[in-house]
């Protein structure tokens, strides 16, 4: 099946008692895509993944994989494999038998099975580790064995449930690159669950941001960062400054908004959503789209006072209090100019920086 219909999740709903874990979610995922489900814990992303894998069954809706309705099939009859959050390495088997576990189910000669296991061990660069027990492996090695054990089955879709969550930061970053590399090499569709927005942005072709069982936005990482459709998405991904205002004019894909804090601002329109002049809206600006200066710049600008400045090596994070805004404005600057606490500065913004978001 071609296009973005390789995996079709159609109005899927799942309830646990009175709580709705997944609420009418529809998603289309393309073949070979690295697709992430991103959201805070309890947003329903793991439940959705488990329904795709067959470990939970939807109350409503259908799940179609490569043209076949798998909604009610048990896990052993689906063309999916899972890398579990706990890795679920069988403690009574060595690495080789762990990886061969799923191959023993298939009719396959011992020679072919061994060849497939060797190939998988080479892929995860653990060729000498076949005889080791799970207890003798580090966290990163366990994670790779879990990956190999799932991929050796050559699934149509690989499901990954926060597989990097238990690793320390440095190892996690290495594994992100390695995982993305393996996904490109094998060309299998990956559905990756994470609560780490940086991880989702750096690895994925597309990301679905979830909250309270619903999908807020599905987009590639760049669109998600630069054109969030709602305050919730903008808040969850990176840092964002919000300014309340009123829409005064709409023309040529540009909106003019009157704000208390920044005055009159020209903002880019989001791709979806309808706005009417006079409506209460939000202006959202990323910290790196704001410019600080000691000298008065060209209009438009607003004056402010620095309330906190943190030096982060390659950049500085500066909080500026301005009149008309309840919370200080976050600004990220290059460290070439020094800004200190208590200094009076001017904030201006790059064109294309301000975004229009429905309140």
């Amino acid at each position: 099946m071609e296009g973005s219909d390789f995996i079709r999740i159609d109005k899927v709903t799942k309830q646990f008692g009175a709580a709705t874990a997944v609420d009418g979610v529809s998603l289309h995922i393309a073949k070979g895509e690295f697709f992430s489900l991103l959201g805070p814990s309890g947003c329903g992303k793991t439940t959705l993944l488990r329904m795709i894998g067959g470990f939970a069954f939807p109350d409503e809706g259908r799940i179609v994989l490569d043209g076949a309705d798998v909604t009610d099939l048990p896990p052993n009859r689906r063309p999916t494999n899972m890398v579990f959050q706990s890795y679920a390495i069988f403690p009574h088997l060595n690495v080789r038998d762990n990886i061969a576990y799923g191959l023993r189910v298939e009719r396959m000669s011992a020679g072919e099975r061994n060849a497939r296991v060797d190939e998988a061990l080479a892929m995860i660069r653990l060729s000498g580790y076949g005889e080791r027990k799970a207890q003798q492996l580090s966290g990163g090695e366990r994670q790779r064995v879990a990956l190999a054990r799932a991929l050796v089955k050559r699934p149509k879709v690989l499901l990954l449930d926060e597989p990097l969550g238990a690793l320390d930061k440095r190892l996690r970053e290495t594994m992100q690159i390695e995982l993305r590399q393996i996904q490109r090499d094998v060309g299998i569709t990956f559905i990756f669950v994470t609560h780490d927005q940086e991880e989702a942005l750096s690895m994925s072709d597309r990301v679905a941001v979830m909250e309270k069982g619903r999908v807020l936005q599905v987009a590639d990482p760049k669109t998600l960062y630069e054109r969030p459709v709602s305050r919730a998405v903008a808040d969850f991904i990176g840092t964002m400054n919000f300014f309340e205002g009123r829409l005064v004019d709409l023309s040529n894909g540009k909106a003019t908004v009157e704000t208390a804090a920044l005055g009159r601002v020209e903002a880019s329109m989001p791709s979806g959503g309808t706005f009417a002049p006079g409506a209460r809206v939000l202006i959202a600006i990323r910290p790196e789209k704001l410019v600080l200066s000691h000298e008065q710049p060209e209009a438009p600008f607003v004056p402010g006072k620095i309330v906190a400045a943190s030096y982060l090596g390659d950049r500085s994070q500066i909080q500026v209090s301005i009149s008309g805004a309840d919370t200080p404005v976050a600004v990220v600057t290059q460290t070439s100019t020094a800004f200190r606490d208590g200094e009076f500065v001017y904030i201006s913004w790059r064109s294309g920086g301000p975004l229009l978001i429905a309140e």
Binding site: G54, F55, P74, V105, Q135, K153
Partner: protein
């Protein structure tokens, strides 16, 4: 000053602990002692060393039949109660707890607190009213009843903390529920199963009360021993038998505890590494 008081109390405690253990084990140790005593009467002073009571015991065909009955009953009761206990323990330790878990668990173990004489009378009435003849089969039924709470407790302690994602991983890799049990659950729960088999076997082996009510003419060993106590000249044989059972029981319990610890260590190690 503190240390001195501590030492003083420590001496008292040591004496108390020694008396405590003596109270527990000296009566039991008299059994092997008199079983080697060359006298029909059980009294001090000892008369001399003999192994003739053991020879007499071994030659007693009725006793051997009773022993064989007990072994058959014990083996069957321990196997049945361990299988039933395993199924119940599996259901009660699922990661998504059953809504009736507390209720089931409470009632499943409540039978531990029902006096055996009550269970014995109740089963006797039941067997006779449904027309089931009293035999070793009815003893097995009674023993499964009293063994189940033990099997359930031992197996639940092994299954508690069992990572259910291991079974999910097996299903995910293509195995059905039945093969998942044999390839993943069973090998990991095996130490608990062994411990449960040994413990329930001992419970069945030791039981006098239920067997007395339910065995009919097929006597088990404890029932046989009770019957023999009426004949004073057979008492030394019974002592020899008691001593032999004591040693066998101790060996079995040690084995059960070893299997349980082996399992507990394995499980703990898995959890630590997994974290």
């Amino acid at each position: 000053m503190n240390g001195a008081r501590h030492r003083q109390w420590g001496g008292g405690l040591a004496i108390y602990a020694f008396a405590y253990l003596a109270f527990l084990y000296i009566p039991v140790l008299l059994l092997p002692l008199f079983s080697f005593n060359d006298s029909l009467f059980i009294a001090f002073p000892l008369r001399g060393f003999t192994t003739k009571w053991y020879a007499a015991m071994a030659a007693d065909t009725q006793m051997r039949a009773a022993l064989w009955n007990t072994l058959k009953v014990g083996a069957t009761a321990s196997l049945v109660s361990t299988i039933l206990g395993l199924l119940a323990a599996k259901a009660l330790t699922q990661s998504a707890p059953l809504p009736s878990r507390g209720f089931v668990l409470g009632f499943a173990n409540l039978s531990l607190f029902i006096p055996e004489i009550v269970i014995g009378i109740a089963l006797l009435i039941l067997m006779t009213s449904v027309g089931l003849p009293l035999s070793l089969t009815s003893v097995v039924i009674g023993h499964v009843l009293i063994c189940l709470p033990f099997a359930l407790l031992v197996l639940m302690s092994r299954l508690e903390g069992f990572d259910s994602s291991l079974e999910e991983a097996s299903r995910d890799l293509g195995e059905n529920a039945w093969m998942t049990f044999w390839r993943v659950t069973f090998p990991l729960v095996l130490p608990g199963i062994i411990a449960s088999l040994l413990l329930t076997f001992i419970v069945s082996f030791d039981d006098f009360m239920l067997a007395f009510f339910l065995c009919g003419t097929d006597t088990t060993l404890p029932v046989y021993i009770f019957g023999e106590l009426r004949f004073p000249y057979k008492l030394p044989n019974v002592l020899a038998l008691g001593a032999a059972i004591l040693i066998a029981s101790a060996a079995l319990i040690a084995l059960a505890e070893w299997a349980r610890r082996l399992g507990a260590e394995g499980a703990a190690r898995d959890r630590v590494i997994g974290a």
